[in-house]
Subunit: 203 residues, 2 copies
Amino acid sequence: MKLYDSIGPNPRLVRMFIAEKGLTIPTQTLDIRAGENRKPEHLARNPHGQTPTLELDNGSFLAEVTAICEYLEEKHPQPPLIGTTPEERAECRMWTRRIDLYICEPLTNGFRFAEGLKMFQDRVVCVPEAAPGLKKIAADRIRWMNEQMKGKEYVCGARLTLADLLLYGWLDFGAQVGQPLAPANTTIAEWFKRIAARPSAKA
Amino acid sequence: MKLYDSIGPNPRLVRMFIAEKGLTIPTQTLDIRAGENRKPEHLARNPHGQTPTLELDNGSFLAEVTAICEYLEEKHPQPPLIGTTPEERAECRMWTRRIDLYICEPLTNGFRFAEGLKMFQDRVVCVPEAAPGLKKIAADRIRWMNEQMKGKEYVCGARLTLADLLLYGWLDFGAQVGQPLAPANTTIAEWFKRIAARPSAKA
C-alpha cells in the first residue's frame, strides 16, 4: 500500500486512523496548494483529483476517506475502529454518515465557497451565496450532535470509532477556518479534549 | 427486523436493495407528509426524524441508508451488492460515497430549499438562496459521472452494486422534482434504462 497524502482534513482523518491502528504505510505528499493533485499523474490515480488516495497492493487506487478507512479496518481488524459485529459496524456507519453528510460536507463547502474561494473557484463549482447558509446547517447539526453525545464517552458509546475521528478532524478544521465550536456545545467540547489528547491527533 | 418506510428516494433505495437481495422484511409505512416521522414515537427510533429506519432483532434502531444496506449485506451476503472481497467492497464504497456526497446530497437539498421548501422549512435549516447553486453542483457531478461510466456496464464495472441503486434512485427522483438528466449524459441514460428494467425498480 501507498498513501497519497496532503494538507487538509481528509488526509488527516486517514493519518489518524492509520495511527490508531498502529500501522506504517509509505506516503507521498502532494502539494495541493500548487495544484499537484489536479495534474494528469494524480488524476490517473483519482479522477476526482482529491487527496488522500490509497494505492492498493493489486495496483488499483482507492479514494474517499470512509472507503479507505473501511478497507484498512478489513485488512487490519485490530484494534477495531468500526466494529467487530454487524451491529457494531452498523452503529458506527450510521453515525459516520450523519457526521459526514450533515456536518463535514456543509462545513467544508461553507469554507470552500467563502474563505477558501480563491483556492477552489477554478477547481469545483463554487456557490458563494450558499456559504453562510451551509455554515448555519453545519452549526445546527453540531448542536444536534451535542445533544446526542450527552452521557456518552464516544459517539458510539464506550468505543472509539471512525465516527469520533471524523467529527474531531472537522471540528478542528472548522475552528481554523472561521467556524469555531459554539460555546453552548459543552458536551462536545469535553469530548473534543479527550480526542485531542490522543497521540493520533498529532498524525 | 422491521422497516419503517415512507415515500421518498431514501426509503426507495432500501426497498430496491431488499428486492435485489430477495428478502422480505415486515414494514410499517409512515406518513411523512403529515409529519408522522417528526412525532415522539419515531424520534425515539431515529432522533434525526428520518425514514427509513430499520429495527434490528436486538431491539436497536438503525438509520442512514448506506449503513442499513451494509447491514443487510452482512446478514444476507447473497447476491453480493457491495462486494465479496475487501477490494470489491472498497470500490463500491468509494463510488457510493462519491454519488452520495456529490450528487444525492446537493440534488436533494436543491429540491428541499426550492420546490420542497414548504414541506421542509419547519423541519431543517433551509437555505433557499443556495438551491440554484446546489442543483448546479449536482448537475456538474452527474456530468462527471457520465464520463466515468463510459465503457462500463455498471458503476463498478461488471457487477451491479449499491452504487448503481443509489445513483438510479436519485436520478429518478431528480427527474420528478425539476432536475431531469441533461440530454448530453447519454452514457448514463443508457445505463439508467438497464436499471429501470430490473424488477427491483418497482419496489
